[in-house]
């Protein structure tokens, strides 16, 4: 029983972080219809920005966080303006491949800038573990989860209450009408990429704080696909639920099934097996927009 609770708790924690990454992904998909395969590499860049600010520039964590967010926002804006805008309205394969190409470029640049080595992140959280009844959470997992939650709440408030957020939601609903009402669509596109880069950076910092960083960190980015498919590609609430469910699934599968199989690795593959099932049964996910198309 305690083992189960422990697995559930760390599942929720991992899931919260997945949800944070997934939200940035969903924002871009909603606004521009682009599936961003470079999410993982944007995370990696954000984590390295923060790491550099803390080690080389010796900034305190809060300042480093701000610096990383600012740099990532610049990267996001540049990516949208230089690469994605010329491809607006192109075939799906072009849009997918261009983000894959970007991820390869980012990985190479990061290896040149920071070398391929694995580095540990400076301690940013108190060392004492958080104890919730029978469950013990290492502080390196508990605090990142709180950061992820705070970021998600902030994003939600942005979409719900600000003028910009409303403009973004309007664009998602109906681009032509939004344009007719005087909303600057290009600014919305640019903003959604900035948001994606910033959330990715936050997630990258959080993941870096848990397990260290290297240019290979971006590989984690692939794990959000089951999350966003479960939640629905265009639903922010869905990303939250999908993240937590997949986090739990992954931990349960890893905890109970891994010892039974000789090679292991169930933890990595279980979400993808679930993904296939979801696509078969309910391709638009739990909360995604249901495209009605009769053939």
């Amino acid at each position: 029983m305690e083992y189960l609770l422990q697995l559930l708790a760390s599942g929720v924690v991992t899931g919260g972080i997945y949800a944070l990454i997934a939200i940035g992904f969903v924002v871009v998909y909603k606004a521009t219809g682009v599936i961003n395969f470079a999410t993982g590499e944007l995370m990696m860049l954000g984590a390295f920005f923060a790491w550099t600010a803390m080690t080389a520039a010796a900034l305190p964590f809060a300042a480093a966080l701000l610096a990383a967010v600012a740099c990532s926002a610049l990267v996001g804006a540049a990516v949208e303006r230089v690469v994605l805008r010329p491809l607006l309205g192109q075939r799906a394969i072009a849009v997918i491949m261009v983000t894959i190409g970007l991820s390869s470029i980012f990985k190479g640049l990061a290896q040149i800038a920071w070398s391929g080595e694995y580095r540990s992140f400076p301690d940013i959280f108190p060392r004492r573990p958080v104890i919730l009844g029978p469950v013990v959470l290492p502080s390196r997992q508990a605090y990142p989860f709180l950061i992820a939650l705070a970021a998600i709440a902030l994003l939600w408030a942005l979409f719900r209450f600000t003028r910009t957020g409303t403009a973004m939601r309007a664009t998602t609903d109906d681009q032509a009408t939004a344009f007719g009402m005087g909303i600057d669509i290009r600014r919305v596109f640019s903003l959604s990429w900035i948001l994606a880069a910033v959330t990715a950076a936050l997630a990258g910092i959080v993941i870096g704080a848990i397990g260290g960083i290297s240019p290979q960190l971006g590989a984690v980015g692939l794990r959000i696909f089951p999350v966003v498919i479960l939640g629905g590609l265009d639903s922010i609430g869905g990303a939250l639920v999908g993240g937590v469910v997949m986090g739990i699934l992954e931990n349960l599968a890893g905890g109970y099934l891994d010892p039974l199989l000789p090679g292991g690795g169930v933890k990595e593959v279980a979400p993808f097996a679930a993904l296939v099932l979801i696509l078969m049964v309910r391709p638009y996910g739990l909360f995604g927009t249901r495209d009605i198309e009769r053939l």
Partner: protein
């Protein structure tokens, strides 16, 4: 100079190579390929074999993605299925290569049919994610089904042989690989002159209209997946006899991405483009490697830049072609051809 392009029969109009010039150049190309192994060194020969194997896989992906419009991020996995099927049949049942390679193609074909089933309900970006899942799952199976695949240690396979002849060197297997490639390129080019191939193109251009014109969507899409995976499986089978060992690391997601890069650089929906793209995408990193080796002599430590630079060049190649030359090398090739068709007169 060609001043006219008159055709007097339907057969001439439907021919694969329509002008005497095209036929002459094809003969030149085939002759060059035939003498190549006797002139080239070991390294060039290795590269030619690598390009040959990958080109068969890339043809398959272009049939699926370029001609039928279904995106696949799992092409390397199908190649893996073919490779493992070939290797298992060759080691366990000691089948000769001329049975085990086609059997690998058939196994991949079946796997493709299974993965293709969701393509009726989901398309575009969703399908890309479904095939990504297939890639992850197949890779896991290759690693974990140790009883069959040998796990991470993989399987060792003896060279292919005919009575009295062993394909044990790169020079010998060159003819096998290029022969199979030529056959499959010819087959792919012909496919799009048949009803089935035309149906593929119709599904890509507008699936609803295709259905209204009497194309059975489900059958056509599954068939496209099967043909494409069959090509990948054959490539996998040849890979086994080329490298004589097969491990799960041979078929990662990055290979699937490399395949997509080949058909994008070459040109979606173009057979000659696929071949050009395969050569280009395979040789650019090798060119970069030689360049780094030259730089190493001047500036020691240049070799450390090779792997990051390879990533950057690979990414820049994809992004650059998509933004500046979306129809790929096939279009560049056509422009050159058109220029010389009227040369030396201005257009």
């Amino acid at each position: 100079m060609r001043i006219g392009d008159y055709k007097e029969s339907y057969a001439a109009d439907e021919a694969l190579f329509r002008t005497p010039t095209a036929r002459a150049w094809l003969l030149v190309l085939l002759a060059a390929l035939a003498v190549f192994p006797f002139l080239a060194g070991d390294y060039l020969l290795y590269l030619a074999n690598l390009v040959g194997v990958l080109a068969i896989g890339a043809l398959g992906l272009n049939i699926l993605t370029g001609y039928t419009g279904q995106i696949s991020l799992g092409h390397a996995a199908f190649m893996g299925v073919g490779a493992y099927a070939t290797a298992v049949l060759a080691t366990r049942l000691s089948l000769p290569f001329w049975l085990s390679v086609p059997a690998g193609g058939a196994a991949a074909c079946l796997a493709g049919a299974v993965v293709g089933v969701p393509s009726l309900r989901i398309k575009g970006l969703y399908l890309a994610i479904a095939t990504l899942a297939a890639q992850v799952i197949f890779e896991w199976v290759f690693t974990n089904w140790t009883g069959l695949t040998g796990g991470i240690r993989g399987l060792n396979v003896a060279p292919a042989r005919l009575p009295g002849f062993r394909f044990d060197t790169d020079r010998r297997i060159y003819f096998l690989i290029q022969g199979v490639l030529a056959l499959h390129a010819y087959g792919a080019a012909n496919l799009f002159r048949t009803r089935v191939g035309r149906a593929f193109v119709a599904v890509r251009d507008r699936d609803l209209s295709a259905e209204l014109m009497g194309v059975n969507l489900f059958r056509t899409k599954i068939l496209a997946f099967m043909v494409s995976s069959y090509y990948a499986g054959i490539a996998g089978g040849l890979w086994v006899y080329f490298t004589k060992v097969v491990t799960p690391e041979n078929f990662p997601l990055s290979l699937s991405i490399q395949y997509l890069a080949m058909i994008i650089v070459g040109g979606l929906g173009s057979i000659p483009g696929t071949l050009l793209g395969t050569v280009f995408v395979t040789l650019v990193p090798e060119g970069l490697r030689s360049l780094t080796q030259v730089a190493q002599a001047v500036a020691p430590g240049a070799m450390a830049w090779f792997y990051p630079m390879r990533d950057i060049v690979f990414g820049a190649m994809i992004v650059g072609f998509l933004v500046f030359e979306p129809h790929g090398l096939a279009e560049v090739w056509n422009r050159i051809r058109r220029f010389f068709a009227l040369w030396p007169f201005p257009k």
